[in-house]
Structure formats: structure tokens, C-alpha cells
Symmetry: C2
Subunit: 205 residues, 2 copies
Amino acid sequence: MPQTQPKRADAQRSIAAILEAATESLSRNPDASVSEIAKAAGVGRVTLYGHFPNRADLVDAALAHAIENGHAALDAVDLSGDPRQALARLIDSSWHLVDRFRSLLQAAQSVLPPGRIRALHAGPAERVQGLIERGQAEGVFRSDLPVSWLVGSMHSVMHSAADEINAGRVATGEAADFITATVLAAFTPPGRPVPALTELRQSQP
Amino acid sequence: MPQTQPKRADAQRSIAAILEAATESLSRNPDASVSEIAKAAGVGRVTLYGHFPNRADLVDAALAHAIENGHAALDAVDLSGDPRQALARLIDSSWHLVDRFRSLLQAAQSVLPPGRIRALHAGPAERVQGLIERGQAEGVFRSDLPVSWLVGSMHSVMHSAADEINAGRVATGEAADFITATVLAAFTPPGRPVPALTELRQSQP
């Protein structure tokens, strides 16, 4: 029994090193190979394949890892006050992460189905959901569409922004404004005016 | 020279039969195999691989084929009158096609990058672009965001609806209303009220 302890600790260290290396490598190059990632992690390919049987498993784990860290970082976003301004702040910070991991997302999109990518975003989605529900209760977000639909629309507009940048149609610096303007308009209740971006950002530092 | 004519005609017939079979098979099962498609087309696997070297090429060609036919069918949509009502009609008809080919889209999403799927929609995107530009000129669609961004947002919300149905979160019958409500709100100029779905559909049969 005591002999297995070091092995388990070794395995955990290997997994942690592989995840860090995969996240880092795929964030620079969406086509980073398993061999490159093993090398960057300082482990052999056999060790890597022992933990992640194929490249899709590795990409899945790297995206999950990046989302988990990003989700924790988003704890710092102030979600109080006007739900529209809070959502604008959350979109800004979330987009910063999506943009940083844009290449990793691209890697994921080529090996994982959209449903799996959405499922990996369960944590961030739950945070958005809570804010939408508060906005609905306060009458500033529409209640005629299901919350899950609104969460999904925001997810797809953000990821579409990453695709637009990859395609050269949008500049990185423009994306946060475009996403915020689009999502906040989409969330506005019928009959109510669409907020201007200046209103959404007025209380921000 | 004359001897090659029949061969070319044969090859064209084979390609047409393969495309029909691929579109049909993948629209029933996103995981339809190359062998199944060859069998449904009445050609050998070697013939099929001669035209489409790998499954991704075949899925790409099948999606292009379905979009081309769908794009032609959308010629029947009346795009005159209020651009918002015209867009609501175009979304209804376009969604009908996306929903019909939902399984083929799912197959495409697992082998083609989002940029390629977007590129295959160039024809439909151009039609949407023309309508958005008219709506911008008439002041009913926002001009503070680029047309290409608005086209991309509509594309991503429609495809997200397909993902939501695949995930069991949205019923097929609900999707057209959800997409129309979301897209028309997103396209509303800041300061202007979001149109109600009843307004958008009032002039429809």
C-alpha cells in the first residue's frame, strides 16, 4: 500500500504538467501535436497516452482546465447593481478569456461537437444564468424567452466573435463592444428601447 | 477524344448519385459511414473515394449541395416591405431548411471548422446581407455594428438553435420564434424599442 502513494503523486504531477502544457501549446497553435505537448510537459508519449488515450481527450481536458481557471478568475467581476451594466462587465471579462484561449477553442471546435463545448462551459453558464434571472425579475431582461436560450445565445455570439477574428473580419479590440451591443439588445424585453453602449459602460472605471 | 465523353458523363452521374445519397444519409444519421453512403448511391467504395478522398470531403460536398438547393428554394421568400417582417419571413423559411438538415449540420460540425461552415453559407449570407443593408438604409436595423457582424450573429443564433434541439433544451416547433425574437432584437438600433413577435408576423398569411 505505501508503495502506491508515490506513484499516485507522480501520476498527478504528470497529469498537471500535461494539462498545463496542452493548454499553453494549444493556446499558441490550434494544431499542436500530441508529441509537442508531451515534450513541453516533460513526459514521454506513452505516459501521455496512458492518461489521455487520444488527442480529442487531451483537447477536451485542456479546454476544461482553461475554463475552470477562467471561471474562478471571473469571481472578481462585480455582478451587483444594474443587471445590464453587470452583464456588460461580465462580457468584457469573459471575452478577455475567450480571446486569450481563442486558439485552444479553435482546436476544440475541430475535435469536439458543439454540445460538448457548451457542456464544458456549465460553470460560466450558471453564473450568466443567475444574472439573467435577476435581470428578468427586475424587468430589464426579456422573460418571453427561456433563460437557457438566452444563455445559449450569449455563448454562441461570443464564440462567433472568436470565429470572426480568426476569419479576419473583426479586430480583437472591437469584439467586446460588438458582443455587448448584440447580447444586451437581444436580451431587451419587447417594447423596451435597446440600451446604448455608453449607458451600459457609464458606471465602469 | 470521343471515348472520354461517356466516362465524363458516367463520372458526373456517379458524383450526383453520391451527393444525393450523402445528403440523404447524413440528414438521417450524422454518423453515416462512407460505406453506407456508397451503398445508398449504388457505387463502389473505390469509386466514391476516387471522387471524395475522405469522409470530411464528402460531408463538405453534401453540406454544400444541401445549402445550394436550399438557397435556390429561398428565392420564393418575399423580401419586400418592412425589412423586419421580411427578415422574419426569411428566418422562418431558412430555419425550416436548417432544421431539415440538422443532422447533416451536426455531421459537418464534427469534421469541418466553423469558418468552413460559415464559408459554405456564402450564398444565403449574401441574401441576408442585402436585406440588412436595406433595413439599415431605412433606419429599422442598427448601423452601429458592421453588416458582416450582424450576418454572423444571425448565422450563429440559427445554428445554436439546432444545437439546442440536439441537446433537448428546445422543441423544434419553438425554434423559429426564438430565433426571430432574438435576431430582430439584436438588430434593433440603440434607443429604439424591440419589436414584439406579433408585430413581426402581422402581415404574414
